[in-house]
Assembly symmetry: C2
Homo-oligomer: 212 residues x 2
């Protein structure tokens, strides 16, 4: 963007709906790249800043991500050397809750399950630990469960992920693809969780009506 | 449970793996019913306390629920007048993140979408607001989306929920069913989110290998 085509901080605030103090905080925290210094004490901002502010807002409001996690995602998006696949890994680590220490035996069971599914994932994928934790939690509650209990969820997840990845536009710039995948992971993840609870409510209402 | 069959606080701590100070905190906060006072300054605890401690631990560690939300769930489980369906509603409200004010027009679109699906849900279901928020977020990011974008997620959610509700044991006491549904919502919700990210990673690795 050439100088002069930029907008002032006040206009950036108006356009994005984000308060000036919040924008200054994001600049300090590295969530937003610095503006173009057109004069001492005067910076100008461009379309990329408006877009970035929208992304940060979605990650905060829909994803509930802390500032540190958003910084990791934003830095990965800006890194021209990272592939889409690598940025996805960063985003997944940022989105995932911090896991308590995981039972090694449960983790080995999960790895066996993922192997059977034929899924190739990195050893650092937080999903491995989260699944192992879910298995341990169910057993601590006295459930006699095996990893096969996760199979219906895995099938649903696979269908959804295949569709999501296939629907990415071909030929779009990498940073745009990355932004789309990150947003999809956060926003569609929230939508899926909400829909599952709504479907549960709907089905439990039906059970109640049929008297079971 | 008759007096004398109970266990002391120290044994409850050993059996459940929860520290004595934490158990005392849960007692004060109403997450755990008081023990049976067998003497001044001496209470005894029973199997129900062991089970409850496991449930509280899962809601905290896997669900990441704050103490206030766990109290709501526990009180609903203990209420003999609430149906399974009603307790599920309480659990859903406890699990769901607090939503910012929702755009009324987006909410009306979501209601239309749920109507088309034939799902009957209560106006207080937090999932309605979460879906509306997801729709608003996608549009704020410049996506030209309609509620039909949620259809694949809704189909997956419906399949899963129908299966979950159908697999509840018939004839079990209500508080046990309720506990099972609550745990299922939290633990299987975490498992589904983890599996979706693992499936994404697997598919993005495949895309990378095939050179797209």
């Amino acid at each position: 963007l050439s100088r002069g085509a930029g907008i002032r901080l006040s206009e950036l605030s108006r356009t994005s709906g984000v308060a000036i103090a919040t924008i200054k905080y994001y600049l300090r925290e590295g969530l937003l790249p610095a503006g173009d210094a057109v004069a001492p004490n005067r910076a100008e901002y461009a379309e990329q800043h408006v877009r970035r502010l929208r992304l940060v807002r979605v990650l905060r409001e829909v994803g509930g991500l802390p500032v540190d996690a958003i910084r990791d995602v934003v830095q990965a998006i800006e890194d021209p050397h990272l592939s889409l696949h690598a940025v996805l890994g960063v985003a997944h680590r940022a989105i995932s809750p911090v896991s308590p220490p995981t039972d090694e035996a449960a983790l080995a069971e999960i790895d066996g399950f993922l192997d059977e599914l034929g899924w190739v994932v990195s050893p650092e994928a937080p999903g491995r630990m989260e699944l192992a934790q879910a298995l341990t939690a169910l057993r601590a509650l006295g459930r006699d469960v095996e990893t096969t209990a996760f199979l219906p969820y895995a099938e649903a997840a696979e269908r959804i992920a295949a569709r999501e990845l296939a629907s990415l536009p071909t030929g779009a710039p990498t940073d745009e693809l990355v932004e789309q995948v990150v947003v999809g992971t956060v926003v569609h993840g929230a939508a899926l969780a909400a829909l599952r609870r709504l479907a549960q409510e709907h089905h439990s209402a039906r059970q109640r009506k049929s008297g079971t």
